[in-house]
C-alpha cells in the first residue's frame, strides 16, 4: 500500500486527523490504567488467608459487663458447641480474618532497640491453629499445658513474662530473619521476650489497616480466652453443613444463656466476600468506564470516517475511474485509520505512563507492567479497524461514474 497519497491527504485535513489521534491517545491512556486498576482489585480479592475458608463459620456474641464466671461460661459453651452435629473443631478466639477489628502490637528483635521492627497482629484462643486449619511448616503447635488464661495474664505483669512461646507466619519470619530459620529465636513485646516455637505457612491479619504488604505479619499466642475477653466462636465443619451448624450452634448458645445477644452468625466465605466488596464494586465501575470509553471512541471514528468518505466521494470516483479496485479503496481507508491509530496509540502510551506515574505518587499504586502496552495497542487497532469498516465499505461502493458528475 502506498502511504504517500494518504499522508498528503491527511496533511490537508490536519484538524480532524489531530482530533482523531487525540481521542485515541486519551482512550488508550485511560483504558490501560483502568485495566491495570481492575487487575489490582481482582488480585487483592484473591488474597491468601491461610485458613480452611470453606469449612469455617463464626458466631459473634455480645458480652456486656464482666460476668464473674466468664471462664467457666466459655468452657461450657465450647463443650456444647463441640457436640453440635457436624462440628469437628471449635475455638473461642479474639479475632477472625477479614473482619475490621484487630489487636496489634509492635515487636522488636532486641529490647534495647529504639524503634520497633514491625507491627504484627495477635491471634489468641485455645486450639486456634487446629480449628482455623492454618498449616504449620516448621516447629509444632502449642501443647495443652502451655496455655494460660488471658484474663489473669492481662492484669498481672508477672504472668505476662511467663507467656514464653509464639507461633508466627513464614512471611513474618522471613521479614525478621531473612534466610534463617525462625525456630528458637526470640522476639520482644516491650520488655517481654517470647520464643518462636512454630512457623505457619500463612494466616492473614483481620484488618489490613497497615497496607497489603503487612497482611501476613501474624502471631499466635497460647492464651485461653473467656467470654469477658473474646466474643467470637469459630467452628469448623464440612462445607455443606455450614448453615446447619450455624443454626444449631446459635440454638445451643441461646439455650445456655437466654440473655445473650448473638450479633453475627456467618460463614467465613461470606465474611471474606463482604471484606472485598468495595474492590469488586470498583472493578465493576472500571469495567463500565472502559466499555463506555471504547464505545464513544468507536462512535467518534465512525462519525469522522463517514464524513470523510462523504467529503471525498468525488476523489474516490476519480480513483475508481482511473482503475482503482474496490479493494484498493477499502484498503486506503483501513490504512489511513491504522496510521492515525498508531500515532494515537504511541501518544497514548506516553500519556498512560504519565497517568500511572501520577497514580503511583498519589495512590501508592505499583508501576504499570509493560504487558499492558501491546495489549492496549492491539485492542485499539482492532476497534479502529472495526469502526472504520462501515464507512470504508461505503467508500468502496462508490461507482466510478461519480467522477463524471458534478457534485
Amino acid at each position: 500500500m502506498e502511504l504517500g497519497p494518504i499522508l498528503s491527504t491527511l496533511r490537508r485535513h490536519k484538524i480532524p486527523a489531530l482530533l482523531l489521534i487525540l481521542e485515541i491517545a486519551l482512550t488508550c491512556a485511560i483504558v490501560c490504567n483502568a485495566v491495570f486498576l481492575i487487575s489490582q482489585r481482582l488480585e487483592r480479592n484473591k488474597m491468601v488467608s491461610g485458613v480452611a475458608e470453606h469449612e469455617l463459620v463464626q458466631l459473634q456474641v455480645a458480652n456486656i459487663g464482666k460476668p464473674a464466671n466468664a471462664k467457666a461460661r466459655a468452657q461450657e459453651d465450647l463443650a456444647l458447641l463441640r457436640q453440635v452435629p457436624g462440628v469437628t473443631a471449635a475455638a473461642l478466639v479474639n479475632q477472625v480474618p477479614f473482619t475490621n477489628s484487630s489487636s496489634n502490637t509492635s515487636i522488636k528483635l532486641d529490647p534495647t532497640q529504639k524503634l520497633p521492627t514491625l507491627n504484627a497482629t495477635m491471634y489468641m484462643g485455645e486450639s486456634l491453629i487446629g480449628t482455623y486449619g492454618a498449616r504449620l511448616v516448621a516447629g509444632r503447635d502449642f501443647n495443652a499445658d502451655e496455655y494460660m488464661d488471658f484474663d489473669a495474664m492481662r492484669s498481672d505483669p508477672d504472668l505476662q513474662n511467663k507467656v514464653g512461646s509464639v507461633i508466627i507466619t513464614q512471611a513474618m519470619a522471613e521479614r525478621l530473619w531473612p534466610g534463617e530459620s525462625a525456630l528458637g529465636k526470640n522476639i520482644y513485646l516491650g520488655e517481654t521476650s517470647v520464643r518462636v516455637i512454630g512457623v505457619m505457612q500463612a494466616l492473614i491479619r483481620p484488618s489490613l489497616f497497615m497496607g497489603d504488604d503487612a497482611a501476613q505479619w501474624t502471631m499466635v499466642f497460647p492464651l485461653r480466652m473467656s467470654t469477658a475477653s473474646a466474643s467470637r466462636y469459630v467452628l469448623r465443619t464440612a462445607p455443606e453443613q455450614r448453615d446447619r451448624v450455624l443454626e444449631g450452634a446459635a440454638k445451643v448458645l441461646r439455650k445456655a444463656d437466654p440473655h445473650r445477644i448473638i450479633l453475627k452468625k456467618e460463614t467465613l466465605d461470606d465474611i471474606r466476600s463482604d471484606f472485598f466488596r468495595n474492590d469488586r464494586a470498583m472493578a465493576g465501575i472500571l469495567v463500565g468506564v472502559i466499555v463506555a470509553l471504547l464505545a464513544v471512541t468507536a462512535l467518534g471514528i465512525v462519525g469522522l470516517a463517514s464524513f470523510w468518505v462523504a467529503q471525498r466521494r468525488r476523489t474516490i470516483g476519480v480513483r475508481r475511474a482511473l482503475g482503482a479496485t474496490r479493494r484498493n479503496i477499502l484498503n486506503y481507508f483501513q490504512t489511513e485509520n491504522f496510521l492515525l491509530a498508531t500515532i494515537g496509540i504511541a501518544l497514548g502510551m506516553v500519556l498512560a505512563y504519565g497517568i500511572n506515574l501520577f497514580l503511583m505518587l498519589h495512590y501508592e499504586l505499583p508501576r504499570l507492567p509493560a504487558v499492558y502496552f501491546p495489549v492496549g495497542a492491539i485492542v485499539l487497532w482492532l476497534i479502529g479497524q472495526a469502526a472504520v469498516l462501515g464507512p470504508a465499505l461505503r467508500a468502496a461502493a462508490v461507482p466510478p461514474v461519480v467522477a463524471t458528475r458534478s457534485v
Binding site: 480532524p16 482530533l19 481521542e23 482512550t27 485511560i30 455480645a62 445477644i261 470498583m282 464513544v296
Partner: protein
C-alpha cells in the same frame, strides 16, 4: 436573529440525524459520569456543620516517646489521653470545649417481649450539644455539675425516642442502658452531620443516622463502657483503668470565636505541651489545632476510590468533548457551500460564528438532558454500592443546574473550533465549487 439561528441549527441537526445522535449520546455519557462522581465527591467533602465549622477546632498533642520523632514531620497523635483531655477542658481557654469517645450501648426496651439491641453511643461532656448546635426536641443537655457528679443521665436521638416512646416527650422517663437505669434529660431533633466529623479517628462510622444515646463521660466510664478505639503508647498492665493508663482514646473539640482566639489557643496548646515536657510526661513538643474542614481533610474522609472515579469521569468527559469537536467539525465542513451562500448574501463572520455556536449549544442542552438521565442511573448504581455513604447519593437542585452548566460549557468549548473554521471560510471558492 437568535430565533433564526435556532431554526437553522435545528434544521441542520435534523438533516444529519445519525451524527447528531452520536454527538448528543457521547456528550451525555461524559456528563452523566461527571455529574455522578461529582455528586458523590460533593457529598463526601461537604461541610457537615456549615453554620459553625469555621469556629470549631480539634486540638492535638503527642504523648508518644521521643523515638522516631522527626521535627516538623511527625504529626501529633490523633486522639488524647484522659489526663490531657481533662486538663484542656478544665483550663477553659475556649468559649466551649468537650471531650468525646464512641461506644456501644445495649438498650433494653421496657415494653414486654421486645429484644434488647445495640446502638451507637457517645460518651461526652456537657458542652457537646451547644458546641455542635445539636437541636433539642424536648428537654436539653446536662450541666458541667452533672459531668462532675457522674449523674445517671442520658440524651437520646429522635430515632431512638421514636422507637422506644413512639416520639412522645420522654424527658424525665428512664431507659435501661447496659443494665442500668438512666434518666432522659433531653431528646434531640433528627441530627446527623454528614460525615460524622466528631467520630473521625474514634473508630466510628462516618455516615448514617448518627448516634442513639449521649451519656456523660464519667458516668459511662463508671459503668465500664469502653471506647471503640484505644491506642496505647507504652506497655499497659491494666487496660480497664483507661483514665490512668498510657492510652489515647478521647477526641477533644473546642469552639473559638475569632482569629485572635485561635492564635491564643494555639500558643496555649504549645505552652501546655512544653509544660508537660518540663514535668517529664511528654517528650515531643508537637501540637496541632485544625479547624473542622482542615481536620476532615487531614483524615482523608474522601476515599481514594472516589477521587479516582472523579478523575476517570473527567478524563471520560474530555474524550467526549474531543469527540464532539471532531463531529461538529465534520458537520460544519460539510456545509461549506451553505456557508458560502450565506456569506455571499451578506452574513458577517460574527453571524456565522454565532449560528454555529447556537448549534453547539443545542447539542449541549440535549446532552445535558440525557446526561441528567445517565447521572440518575449512575447514582442509582452508586446507591447499590457497598460504601456506607451510598444511600446518601442523590442529585440535589444545585447539581441539577450544574449539570446544564457543564453540558453547555462542554458543548460551547467543543463548538469554538468548528464555528471558527466555518466563519473564516472564504465565500468565493465555495460558491465556485457549487
Amino acid at each position: 436573529m437568535f430565533a433564526y439561528y435556532l431554526d437553522l441549527a435545528l434544521r441542520s441537526l435534523r438533516r444529519n440525524k445519525v451524527l447528531t445522535t452520536l454527538m448528543v449520546l457521547a456528550l451525555a455519557l461524559g456528563i452523566g459520569a461527571t455529574i455522578t462522581t461529582l455528586t458523590v465527591l460533593r457529598l463526601l467533602s461537604g461541610d457537615p456543620l456549615p453554620q459553625k465549622s469555621a469556629h470549631l477546632f480539634y486540638p492535638q498533642l503527642d504523648p508518644n516517646a521521643k523515638d522516631g520523632y522527626i521535627v516538623g514531620q511527625t504529626k501529633p497523635a490523633p486522639t488524647m489521653t484522659y489526663v490531657d483531655a481533662m486538663n484542656l477542658l478544665h483550663a477553659h481557654r475556649a468559649v466551649r470545649q468537650a471531650a468525646m469517645a464512641l461506644s456501644q450501648a445495649k438498650i433494653l426496651p421496657q415494653q414486654g417481649g421486645k429484644h434488647p439491641f445495640f446502638s451507637d453511643a457517645v460518651m461526652t461532656t456537657a458542652d457537646f450539644f451547644a458546641m455542635f448546635d445539636a437541636p433539642f426536641q424536648y428537654g436539653g443537655g446536662w450541666t458541667a455539675a452533672d459531668d462532675d457528679s457522674g449523674a445517671q443521665l442520658v440524651v437520646i436521638a429522635s430515632f431512638l425516642n421514636d422507637k422506644l416512646f413512639g416520639g412522645a416527650d420522654s424527658v424525665g422517663k428512664t431507659i435501661r442502658l447496659n443494665d442500668r437505669d438512666f434518666r432522659i434529660v433531653g431528646v434531640l431533633k433528627p441530627w446527623a452531620p454528614q460525615p460524622r466529623f466528631y467520630a473521625q479517628d474514634l473508630g466510628g462510622r462516618s455516615y448514617g443516622d448518627g448516634d442513639a444515646a449521649f451519656l456523660p463521660l464519667r458516668t459511662a466510664r463508671a459503668i465500664d463502657m469502653g471506647p471503640q478505639d484505644t491506642e496505647c503508647y507504652a506497655a499497659v498492665t491494666d487496660i480497664k483503668h483507661l483514665e490512668t493508663a498510657p492510652c489515647m482514646w478521647l477526641g477533644v473539640w473546642v469552639e473559638l470565636a475569632d482569629d485572635t482566639a485561635v492564635a491564643d489557643y494555639r500558643s496555649f496548646l504549645s505552652g501546655y505541651a512544653q509544660q508537660q515536657i518540663a514535668q517529664g510526661r511528654f517528650e515531643r513538643p508537637e501540637t496541632a489545632l485544625l479547624d473542622l474542614m482542615g481536620w476532615l481533610r487531614d483524615q482523608q474522609v474522601v476515599p481514594d476510590d472516589v477521587r479516582l472515579q472523579a478523575g476517570l469521569a473527567f478524563g471520560f468527559l474530555l474524550i467526549c468533548v474531543v469527540n464532539t469537536v471532531g463531529l461538529l467539525l465534520a458537520k460544519c465542513l460539510r456545509r461549506s457551500q451553505e456557508i458560502g451562500v450565506r456569506r455571499a448574501l451578506g452574513a458577517t463572520r460574527r453571524e456565522i460564528f454565532t449560528q454555529f455556536m447556537v448549534e453547539a449549544a443545542i447539542v449541549g442542552m440535549a446532552g445535558g438532558v440525557l446526561g441528567l438521565l445517565f447521572a440518575e442511573l449512575g447514582l442509582l448504581g452508586i446507591r447499590h454500592q457497598p460504601a456506607e455513604y451510598a444511600s446518601l447519593a442523590h442529585l440535589d437542585l444545585g447539581m441539577f443546574f450544574f449539570t446544564f452548566v457543564v453540558a453547555l460549557g462542554a458543548s460551547l468549548i467543543a463548538g469554538i473550533l468548528p464555528a471558527w473554521r466555518a466563519c473564516v471560510l472564504a465565500p468565493a471558492p465555495q460558491l465556485k465549487a457549487a
